[in-house]
């Protein structure tokens, strides 16, 4: 009900809010319920409203309008013998909501098109069929708009939904079919999340890191993480991965590409070099992954996933001062400016030198290796690379640029963007 909630707060949310201690506290402060101790019945909110519709002929829905006033739809042409005061009293009695304003009949009556019972009937009829369509996100009786509301992921899905509801005999004009963001569970970066997205915690034998980004490499579906987040940095050992931790049902893939670190032109004598700290992992069969999606958390520093960033482009250049973000299992989403570009960096405790890496002044900590690094561009994000290191104070991180990762002597070409947008 995200869209509806922006403008209206359905009345029932008020008393549910008392039980759930949700964000409707401001409403419940002014419209106090007399039944906070009542147990939640097994009936749904829609059942309650349908019962109300039996008692109020033509009842089409109830909600709080933008001024906090109770608004009720009554179908035009329906004959009701009830006065506004009686309607208020009926609502108060049926919903167990003893509110003085309701009993006094302080209600705004709106002309409706459809009765709630009719909407519920259509909703019950559509529900089993509609969710068979891939890409349908939600169905709802929208009390504030006196219509059914079906949320879909794309325009193509919307067309299929419309065909289905017409074939089932539901009037097209009674249903609002709208594109909505995919609904992701309120999990953290350290919990099990499917489909896989960038920024989640991953586990390989003895270690924890972060999943960088989903990708397709030479027609193989998989994902990218740091080369040092494999059993041996450089070379393929078939490292197994789990998300978030090793368990019977959390296996997510096997390492299949991690070029060796070698001496090459531009590499200091006695050292071993690569242009990126990256490895490719083949996605395990039966595991879903969202190509081009990175977990978006509630705010900077938060680990709670509230949505996803969509990769719509790959960086073709990097400039000092550009503000980049990363999402990692330890410090979540952090953001800051590029402070150095194309730096050759020696890896502490090894003979490895990573060539032409970038530094970003932003929070980092152990466990963030493999994090996707990106720049927010309007509605999408541009992928910049993969985080692998940081300073001891956790104020600056180092990443391998995406152009380096896709060199022919590194992982080679990758498809990283969300379908249809790159």
């Amino acid at each position: 009900m995200a869209r509806a909630l922006r403008r209206f707060v359905p009345v029932m949310s008020v008393f549910l809010g008392l039980v759930l201690a949700s964000g409707f506290g401001a409403w419940s402060a002014t419209l106090t319920s007399q039944m906070p101790q009542a147990p939640l019945s097994e009936e749904t909110l829609d059942d309650h409203l349908a019962r109300l519709a039996e008692q109020i002929p033509g009842f089409g829905g109830i909600f709080l309008d933008e001024n906090g006033q109770v608004a009720v739809y009554l179908v035009k042409g329906e004959v009701t013998t009830l006065s506004v005061r009686e309607i208020g009293a009926t609502i108060a009695r049926t919903l167990g909501w003893d509110e003085r304003r309701l009993r006094a009949g302080a209600i705004r009556i709106l002309p409706g098109q459809y009765s709630f019972r009719q909407l519920k009937e259509w909703n019950d009829q559509l529900f089993p069929h509609i969710f068979e369509i891939e890409g349908v996100t939600l169905t709802d009786i929208d009390e504030a708009r006196n219509r059914l509301w079906i949320g879909v992921e794309s325009e193509e899905v919307a067309e299929t939904v419309i065909e289905t509801l017409v074939s089932l005999g539901v009037p097209r004009e009674a249903v609002l079919v709208e594109e909505v963001e995919p609904i992701l569970p309120m999990a953290t970066l350290r919990e099990k999340v499917r489909p896989l997205v960038g920024g989640l915690q991953i586990n390989f034998p003895g270690y924890l890191c972060t999943l960088g980004f989903n990708a397709v490499r030479s027609n193989v579906t998989g994902w990218v993480t740091a080369s040092h987040c494999t059993n041996v940095q450089g070379g393929v050992e078939g490292t197994p991965y789990w998300q978030p931790l090793e368990a019977m049902d959390t296996f997510i893939g096997t390492e299949i590409a991690d070029p060796l670190y070698t001496w090459r032109f531009g590499c200091p004598m006695g050292r071993l070099c690569r242009y990126s700290d990256s490895a490719f992992v083949q996605l395990a069969s039966g595991v879903s992954a969202s190509l081009g999606h990175v977990a978006q958390t509630a705010s900077l520093g938060s680990l709670t996933i509230t949505g996803s960033f969509q990769i719509t482009a790959e960086a073709t250049r990097r400039i000092r001062g550009e503000v980049l973000s990363k999402v990692g299992r330890t410090t979540g989403w952090s953001q800051g400016p590029i402070t150095q570009t194309c730096v050759n960096v020696g890896v502490t405790g090894t003979r490895i030198v990573l060539l032409c890496q970038d530094f970003v002044q932003a929070t980092v900590a152990a466990g963030d290796s493999g994090s996707p690094v990106f720049k927010i561009n309007g509605s999408g994000v541009t992928l910049y690379g993969l985080l692998w290191g940081g300073n001891s104070s956790g104020t600056s991180f180092v990443y391998s640029p995406i152009g380096n990762i896709q060199r022919s002597d590194e992982l080679g070409p990758l498809k990283t963007c969300a379908i249809g947008t790159c």
């Binding site: 924890l208 502490t348 985080l387 940081g390």
Partner: protein
């Protein structure tokens, strides 16, 4: 991390050899049960050299790039982890430190923001030997 209470952490200072001092950090499982630690970063250890007033003089990890990985490390009862580093008697800017008393402290980074710190150990930097004529 309840395991922290069951670990002992101490720092050792070797005898100076020329202008260098070897530092050793020992982490020991003092309990009678198997412990699992999450070590933060590779390398996960650090050494701090401070003046007696607490001002930081030198830090082993300063200027180093640490791989941001978390390692699960098992420690059997009585088992010890040992980490070593060398201090070349310089400050953070690479300048020789004056002779005198210093404090050395070992640090083991665990799952952020947890750290295991040793008690400070006093350390004397001797005056440079006079060159023979």
């Amino acid at each position: 991390m309840g395991e922290k209470q069951e670990l002992s952490a101490r720092v050792e200072v070797m005898k100076p050899v020329g202008r260098t001092i070897r530092l050793k950090l020992r982490i020991k499982n003092e309990s009678e049960r198997h412990l699992t630690l999450l070590l933060g970063g590779r390398p996960a250890y650090n050494f701090l050299i401070k003046r007696p007033d607490g001002a930081l003089v030198w830090e082993w990890q300063r200027g180093k790039i640490i791989q941001q990985i978390l390692e699960r490390r098992n420690l059997e009862p009585g088992e010890e982890l040992i980490f070593e580093a060398t201090w070349r008697l310089v400050d953070a800017r690479g300048h020789r430190v004056p002779p005198g008393e210093y404090l050395v402290q070992g640090v083991l980074n665990l799952e952020p923001p947890e750290k295991l710190l040793t008690d400070p150990l006093s350390l004397r930097v001797p005056p440079p030997k006079k060159a023979r004529k």
